[in-house]
Structures are given as structure tokens and as C-alpha cells.
Symmetry: D3
């Protein structure tokens, strides 16, 4: 049984998409997300002429990635609310990684497609998208635009009677744990490239079946920060 403060086995495979300026297949246990970073010499029309760049993200789940088949959003003609919420979070988070003025009038689009879903796909997507983003900047000689390292993990309070499952305050929830979580949070953490203490980019905590105290909120935050510290080491190692 995995310990409460452990995240799942992590693998970061670089360059799996041959045409993308940067790409990373992140596997966190049975959650697999393919992240690509595409760099284009244009910005959205509302940003033109400001000399600054833009970063945006899109997220999707392959129909075969889930327990029962997920409808293909392209066929339905509409992205679900959950999809929209997640891709906005990824975009906001990764914009903190880059100095948009140094990037210049370029757009980075981060596409995160879930090949296998077992909880924590949005956090895995952020973690992998940062790696893809770094590769894309490197390839274009734009590494000086990189400002911060970004990684994300989920934390929560899980309630279960089973002696063979994790309970209480746990890091990096699998689908089954997430399903039983009374409180669920996603932490996106950042650190400057020169090091220094880990800081927070986003902390979203939600009571699913109950509300929670400020002390519980603080415990979630601290476990998440601790986990992201270790996750960032793995990102740096993968990038060499």
C-alpha cells in the first residue's frame, strides 16, 4: 500500500510527438497524459502590437481513457464544463512559468490529452505541460523567457473503512480515492529558477460532502507543497 504522503510512480517521456516543438508523455501511476507545446509566431488579435506573448491550454480525454467510454467532445460539438474549467486552470498556471514580455509576440499552446485516466489528470497535465513548454522554449532559443518551475498535485481527506486502502490526509489521489474524498484540493506550486522557497500559484480546495476547517485547509496545503517539492526534482531530472 502506498504511503499517505507518496505520489504514484512517475515517468516523464520526452519528445513523443514528432512534429510538436515540445512534448512530454507523463505517467503518474495509471494516469497517462500526453502534453504538447506548440509555438507560433502570432498572438490573439486582442494582444497584437503589445510586444508580449500569450500562453493558452486545451484539454481533452480520449474516449478510450475512462472506465466506460467518454463521449468524444468533437462529435458532440461541445466541450463539457469540466473540460473548460480544467483547461483554464492549466493555462493560468503555465502563464506563471514564463516572462511574456521576453517571449515576444508568440503564442504557446499547451495541449493535454488524457490517454488513461485514474485520477489527478489535471495535475499531471500541468506537470507534463511544464516539461513540454521548456522543451519548446529550448528548441526555439527562448529559454531566457523561462521564469519559474511549475508542478501540481492533488491532496484530500479520504474516508474509508477498508484496512488495505489509504485514509485520512493523502497525497495524489487515485480515481477510487478521489471518489471517496470528503475534501479535495489541487495545488499548483511554483519556484523561481534561482531556487528559494516553493510558492503557490493556485490552491483550489473543495468540500465535496462536508465543509472543512482552516486547520484542515492548512494541512492539505502543506502536504501538497511537500509533494510538489519532490515532483519538481523529477521534472528537473527528466530535462537533464
Amino acid at each position: 500500500m502506498r504511503l499517505n504522503h507518496d505520489f504514484r510512480d512517475l515517468s516523464l517521456e520526452l519528445g513523443v510527438q514528432l512534429h510538436a516543438e515540445g512534448s512530454c508523455l507523463v505517467k503518474l501511476g495509471r494516469t497517462h497524459v500526453l502534453c504538447s507545446a506548440r509555438l507560433e509566431d502570432r498572438v490573439p488579435s486582442w494582444m497584437k502590437g503589445q510586444g508580449r506573448g500569450w500562453i493558452t491550454a486545451e484539454y481533452g480525454m480520449l474516449p478510450g481513457s475512462t472506465h466506460t467510454r467518454t463521449d468524444r467532445e468533437a462529435a458532440k460539438g461541445k466541450q463539457q464544463g469540466r473540460t473548460v474549467e480544467i483547461q483554464r486552470l492549466i493555462g493560468r498556471s503555465l502563464r506563471q512559468a514564463v516572462d511574456l514580455a521576453v517571449l515576444g509576440e508568440r503564442q504557446l499552446t499547451l495541449d493535454c490529452d488524457v490517454l488513461n485516466a485514474d485520477g489527478g489528470t489535471r495535475c499531471a497535465a500541468i506537470t507534463g505541460a511544464w516539461v513540454a513548454l521548456v522543451l519548446a522554449l529550448r528548441g526555439a532559443g527562448l529559454e531566457s523567457a523561462l521564469l519559474r518551475q511549475i508542478a501540481a498535485l492533488s491532496v484530500g481527506f479520504v474516508e474509508t473503512e477498508s484496512p488495505t486502502q489509504r485514509r485520512g490526509l493523502v497525497l495524489d489521489l487515485e480515481y477510487e480515492e478521489d471518489h471517496r474524498a470528503a475534501v479535495d484540493a489541487n495545488l499548483v506550486a511554483a519556484r523561481g529558477l534561482q531556487g528559494g522557497a516553493l510558492e503557490i500559484v493556485e490552491f483550489q480546495s473543495t468540500g465535496e460532502g462536508r465543509s472543512f476547517t482552516r486547520e484542515e485547509g492548512l494541512a492539505l496545503l502543506d502536504l501538497g507543497l511537500n509533494g510538489c517539492e519532490r515532483l519538481m526534482a523529477a521534472q528537473r531530472e527528466a530535462l537533464g
Copy 2:
């Protein structure tokens, strides 16, 4: 000048929509949101036969509510990502107010339409929707399904040079303050009907131009909890 820990002038006008089972026009300074609660004797198909109810929310901005005209989403044929994100937050928050099993196979839909926007519309919507929800339950003799009081406020760190504007850690941000906020958070707080300490339903904190420390995160949370405490008193007073 408003003090850092004050929220704006609040008015809660009940029953403004004549056909709705419950309605409340909430005015928080120059932010005005019309909230209605509609009660129907049906649940979504995926919930049928479970004997439980459902609560969902929809959010919109009137085209005339903003500085420059906002496109009508019905005419564009699509809700914006921001809209989707907000209405999911309202729905999740208000589901914590009610015991869905006691509600029975009924659906409550909370419609929150912004008549005037000056920052904090999602928090005002949650605060007003709770009042509309209570009225709808009362009208239907379902007050026993009410579990918790819910209210929401924004908090943030605002950076400005102006001596006539609030700066630093402030409660209930106006549009201009929100625009200059380096860190921005929304707190949805809850308290059981029997009283007791205020707890957290959602705490969403976002670094907009920088990341922030755990101590800053805690300061945001504490100011938000303090503000919601006072906001809840106003809700109870409005409901008599």
C-alpha cells in the same frame, strides 16, 4: 475610503421575480445580481430512482452590465469558459446548503444574472442564491432540507501607488481593485444551522502576476472567513 476589512454596502431585496419560487436581488456596492431559485418535481435522468434531489446553477451577464457591451451568449450560441467555470462553482457551493436526501426527487435551479458588474459577481451570486434557495424551500414546505448557511466573498492583495485607494490585503474587491490584484481569492464559507464555527466550502486562490506564500494564503483565508461571518448576519436579517 472603505477600510481594508469592510465589504461594500449590501442590500438583499426579496421576491423581485414574481413567478420564481424564490428570488433575491443582491446589491453589493455597484455589483447587482438577480438570483432566482426554481423548484421542479424532477431530477436529471442520471439521478432518477435514487430518492435524492439535485441542485444546479446557471450564470449570465446582461449585455448592458459591463463597461463595454458584453456579447450575448445566446446570440453567439456558446457560453464562455469563464461563465461555465462560475456556474459550476455556484452549483457546487449551494449543494452544500441542502440535504439532498430530504429534498427528495426534486431539482432546484439557481439562475444568477448580473444586472450591473463591478467585481465580485460570483461571490454576490452565491450569497444571493442562498437567500433565494431558502425562500423556495420555505414556500414548498421543505425547510427541513436546509443544512447549512452559505455566503461568499473575494479577498486579495492589491498593489497601487494611489494614496486614495485601498492597498495590500483587502476584502470584497471592486473591479478596479481586482484588476490590480496580484493575488486573488474567492472564499465560500458555510455554517451549520445550529451555529458553530464557520467552515470552508471552497477556497480558490490564484496568483495573477506572482506566486504567493503559505502565510499569505492563510491571511487571505482568515480575512475572508471574518468577512463571511458578518455577511451571514445580513443574510439572516433579510430572511427575518
Copy 3:
């Protein structure tokens, strides 16, 4: 009981939308419509370079405005046929109010959102939109572009057995009367700013359960003109 040739209690509240160039909340009995007029320094692409302005309208019903909840068109991704028909009528009608050459290359958008619906919403919208339009022109120093006063009322033949309800030829139908009307008409009337006789901008008469004679058509028209005469006095009074 209201007399057959009376319209309902009327209230015109100005400036209720703080950012809109002009706005008016019109209440005609239990029918409440919020009208805003937005003025922009651009015209649709097909009008560019002609030196003339354009006026268009959009209409919507808040989900909480009706007896049972009306689906939000933005969520369905499509405006209903009825909505499209009404907003085209409002646009055509208000274009008669203004000299588009004097307006210059500007667009006025009239948004009419129904807060409470009890029959006659399209006529109330036209009546209120004219007030909002005048305010917007005034604020921009463009009052010289104003050409005509515009107001609208419904008329119909109502069939009922009830001694306590209006029957026969009646002005300004409530929802229940409209429901029982065998013939239903909407009259949009105009008068030049220098006075003179009331004229017709649109007269749309429809047999709902039967056809009607030319004499009945004429009676509908005359009652409508008489009502609009009095309605226009109220508009002028509201504008001071």
C-alpha cells in the same frame, strides 16, 4: 377590473444599468423589462464607409421570469424562433426613431431582457428601448439624430365567460388574456418630434383560433393608436 381601453400601471425607471449609455427598466403591470442602449463607434462590416449608423436589438427572457422556468438560451446554444422574431421587430421599430445619416458611423444596440413576464413583453421592450435610446443619444450629444417617438402596445379580441375578466376588444393584454385571445395584434406607433398625427411603424395582427374581418382589424388598429397616444405622454414625462 381594468377597463378595456386602459393599459396597465406603467413605471419607467431611468439609468438602472450603471455602465450602459442609456437604460430604462419598464414595468407595465407585472411585465418588467430591462432595456439598455449601448453606443459604439463602429458599424457592421457591410455598412462601413457609408457614413451612416445602424441600430440593432437583442431580446431575452431570464429563466426566472416565467410561470415555469424558461431554458436559458445561452446554455442551449440557440435562440428560439420566437426570440429571433421579437428582436427583429424591436430593431426594425427603433430604426424608425433615428436619422441614421445624422447618427454617423455608430451602432446603437438595444438589449431588452425580461425580468418578469406577464404578456406584452415585446411591446414593453419597444417602449422602454426608445427611452433608453434617447438617454444614450443625449449622453453622447447626438440628440439631433432623434427623428420620431416610438411606443408599442398589444390589442386583441379576448373570449371569456368570466364576469370578472375583460372580454371583447381590449388593450394591453396580460398573459391570461393573451392566452384566451382569438385575435392578437401588436401596434408600433410613431410620431414626429414636432408633433402631428400618430402614424404606424408596424401593425402585426394574427388570428389565433379564427380569422377576422377588415372591420375588426380596423377596430384593433384604432384602439392601439389611442393607447399609444397616452403611452407616449408617459414616455415624455419620464424623460423630463
Copy 4:
């Protein structure tokens, strides 16, 4: 030159759509509309169990029917406002032709597709759709459900300097006349099958560049009624 009170050369060709329960290709000068009436043993879900039928209409213009190519609405994924307005008018008008209780739980769908457009397509569509509807009822042995004869024509006040063109109050406007019309009206007329005076089903009159007096409105109506009287004779002759 055609006289002011004449409609264009009329041809009504029956049965041109081989599978449709009823069909009629109506040619009014250079305006050609293909109308079909399809009869199905079902009603919309909101009408089920009432023992009554329903009539609805759809309208479209082939891309090749107009001076410059009209975009295909199916390719754009959206019907224009004008299309929606017209098909609602056709549906309302034809519902007056039939006793829906005698029709029973059946739906008649009237499809009106414009092959060539030269003004007056909505009126031609109504005139042809009535013929198609009668054929469909005959074929199904449901002629007893027929209640009234329906026909429609446009009328207007045309302003022109040209001595070779019609001016003033004219019947059945061609595209060029419609373009120069200051006032434009569509009349849908009805007569019971036992004869009697012609009555009005819809009278929609619109000032395009000016408003108009009640006397002008009456003159439009009278010319339209006179024209429809003669048009109905042609419909009856075509049906044998």
C-alpha cells in the same frame, strides 16, 4: 407594364415531388417555390395524448436562387433570423386551414424551398403550401379536416421616378419593387370552404423608411384582400 392591382403570372404544378404526400411547385412570375406536405403519424411530444394534430413549416432558399449566391444555412449550422421569422408565419397561417381535432394525432410538415427568388417568396410559399396540404389530406382520406382556404400576397407603396415602372400602391411586389417600397405588407387571407366573405389570418405591415397612416394601412389591406380573392380562384382551379 403590369397594372398596380395585378399579380404576376401564376402557375401551380402539382405532384412534382414523387415521394411527398402532397407537393406543389408555385411560380409567381420569376419567383418559384417548391412546397411539399409530409404527413406523419406522430405529434410533437408536448402534444401527445390530446387527440389533436399539429402543423408546422420550414423554409429555405437554395443557394442558386438569388442574385448573388446565398450561403447554405445547413453549412453555416444556423438558420438566419429572416428564415425563422418566415417559417413561423407559414406555420401559423396554415394551421388556420385545418381542424386539428379532426386531423387526429398526426403532424403535417410543410417544406417550402425557394428555387428562384424575385420577391414575395413567403406569400408564394403560403399559397403553394395550401395546395400541397390539400393534396396530402386527400391522399390520406382526411379531407374532412380541411376548414379554410388560405392564400397570401404582398402589397406596398413603391416610390420610383421611372415612367416604366409601377409606383404608388401596388400588389405582389417583385424584388426591385420591394427594394424601393416605403411601406410593405403581407396579407394572409382565409375563406371558409362554404364560401362567405374573405377574412384575415395575418396582416403584417411595416414602414421601411417612413411610418404610414391608418388610411394607408386600410388601402394596403383592401388591395391585398382583392388580390387574394382572385388568387384563391386559381388555387381551386389547380386542384380541380
Copy 5:
């Protein structure tokens, strides 16, 4: 009974759409398709500045054209997969008819609308669209851009027990034959204007209930080529 190698009675009526640069109503037995060719002095944005033209096609079925009413794609807001597939085939095929460099920066749009459907509508559309295209080029003095003659027919292996129906390898399948076909193919053939052997533009063969041998494929192809040879004579005769 029609012989296996005969196509149905063919009629090509020219100029039926009065505004279109070219038009042709093709009738192949009970399959009737109205084809128009519209010529515009613009190309899609991705082709601008190349000095070359473009040819595209759109296809639709009138709701009244089929055994039971076909839903109007404009009303559903979406073209079916079958529609998309067919209009891509028509466009690809007709692009082989024209030297796009000689056409210059112009777009030809071929609209093919089925008035009556009895099998083979896509082939009839291609055959008629070529005639409409020639008329449009002639009218614009662009006949020098014409490169090849194009025509299309279906072929298939039909299985039936009935002694009064065609069976085995047959040309130009009616709906009932197509329904019973085990193998179904569409051949689009071309010939240079100077004559020479017939060549293939598209050959699409599909096993519907079984697979088929290369010899069967060859037999389908040869019968199709033979039929197209004769079909092209009829096209030339119609164009005079």
C-alpha cells in the same frame, strides 16, 4: 425491365435557375437534382495571391425528396456525415474539369440539391454540375479554362430472387436495387476535350454485405466506363 447495362431515362434541363451563372436540372429516372454553378471574383483566404481559382461543392436533400421526410439539416444545425462525404466527392471530381490557373482568382461553387431521390443522387449531381459549370464558364467568357468532360454513374452487384428485377452486375442503381446491392461502386470518369480514351477520376467501390474479388472490381469498373461513355454523349448534346 431495364437492361443491366442501361442507365435510366435522362433529361438535362438548362438554365432553370434564373440568377445562377449556370444551372441544370438533371433527371435520371425518378432521381432529380438541381445543380447550379455560381462564379465569384474571390477565392478562399488560404488561396489568395496565387493567381489560381478554386472549385467547391455543396449538396443537400430537400425534406420532401425522400420516402419519409428527411430532416432539414439547416434546422438541425449540422450536415450529416453522408452529406459531407458526398459534397467532398463532387468538389474533388469537378476540380478535374477545369484548369484552375486559367480560371484565375475566381471561385466556382456547385450547389446540388436533390428534389427527388431514387438512388444515384451523387452521380447525377456530378453529371449535372458539369453541365452547369460549362454554362457558367461560357457566360463569363472563360471557356478556355475547361479541361475535361466529367460524368458519373453507379454500378453494383444486386442480389434478388425476383424474376421481374435486374440482378447481378447492373448499371445505374435505383434506390431499391442499391438497397439490395452486395457491392456498390461509384465511378467518376473524365475525358480530355480533344477526345481520347475515357479515364478515371474517382472509383469508389464498397462491399456492403460481403467483400469482392479483383475480377469483380474490374467488371464494375468496365461497366461504369462503358456507361459514362454514353452519358457524356448526352451531356454534349444538351450543351449543343
Copy 6:
């Protein structure tokens, strides 16, 4: 340099989607397609009660799979014509693999998502989808429903001056070859499980810049059949 009659290096990786009933990642050179087969105990409503199953397919390209980023169809709200055409081809082809009566009232959905695109994605998708389909049937104990083996390859005539590139009649075109192909064909081949000669399920041949003779068509077909013969051996080996 690859020989004209060789297909690219092939790899078939089984079970890469953990929740899917069957899945296969097919790599044909630099073209990588992830195929999943989902089995559900339901059929489309139009097939209910017939005791037969159904097979359908959906296709998509990840935004990061192409030279320049491909727009996400889910975000645009619409599948492209090319996508629709391809997924219809995949569905038709794979329906030939299975006896739908033996399958019973179940639906198999084949999702084919392109991770890397370098030409021939639709053929690779068909080849991989068959492997995924077999795995899904095996897992459900439904292997008796399997009727035929299915595989697909592209063939074409490529024109180039380069001495280092393949020219003339070539098998399995890469993107660059496809781009220069004057004639392009896709062959879907089938063989019964008991062996016997290879047969044709679909043969789609298209002249891109010129038409082609029946002899050229036959040469394309024969090379394709030869290639599929060898491809099928690889499929069988992968399945053990």
C-alpha cells in the same frame, strides 16, 4: 531508401489503454494511431429489438500530431469534412469484420486518435482498429462473432525528380509522397478466418492532379492487395 513495394516499419502495441475492452497503438513509420474498441450492451435506438449488433468508429487528430498545430475540433465545435469522411470509412470497413447477428444487441465503438501524423493515418487506423476489435471480442467471450481479418494500406503514383526518393507506383505513402501523388488510393482488404484469397472491402482511388487509366487502377489495386497480404501476417503475429 524504402523499396516501392515495402510498407514502413510496423509496430502493434496491445493493451495500452487500461480501461478499454481492447486497444492497440499502431506505429507505421512516423504515423502513430491509438485505437480502442469499447463494447457496450446497447445498440442505437434505430436498431433496437432486431437482435443484431452495431459497429461504429470515430477518428481524431491530436493538435500536436501535425507539422503545424491542428485546431482541436472539440474547441471549434465541429468535426471537419475530412474527419467525417474518414470515420465513416473506418466504420464501414470494420463492420465487415464481424457477424453482427452473432454479436447480439451490443455496440462496438472504435476510436482512432492520431498521436503522430505522417501520411496513411486512415489505413493505419483500420489496421489497428481490427486488432483492438479482436481483443475486445476475446475479452468478452465473443470471438465467435469474428468473421474476417481486415487491414488497409495506401498506394499511389508519386511524381518526383529527386533521385533519393521513391517515384512511380509506391506502397504506403508518407506525407511527403502523398503530397506529390498524382493518383492516390486506399485499399481495405479482407480475408475469411479460414483463409482463402484476399478480397476487397473498399477500394477508393482518386486522381489528384490528373485522371488515370483502368490499367493504372488495376496496378494500384494489385500492389495494395500484395501489401495487405503481408500486413495481415503482422496483425496475426501481434495477436499471438
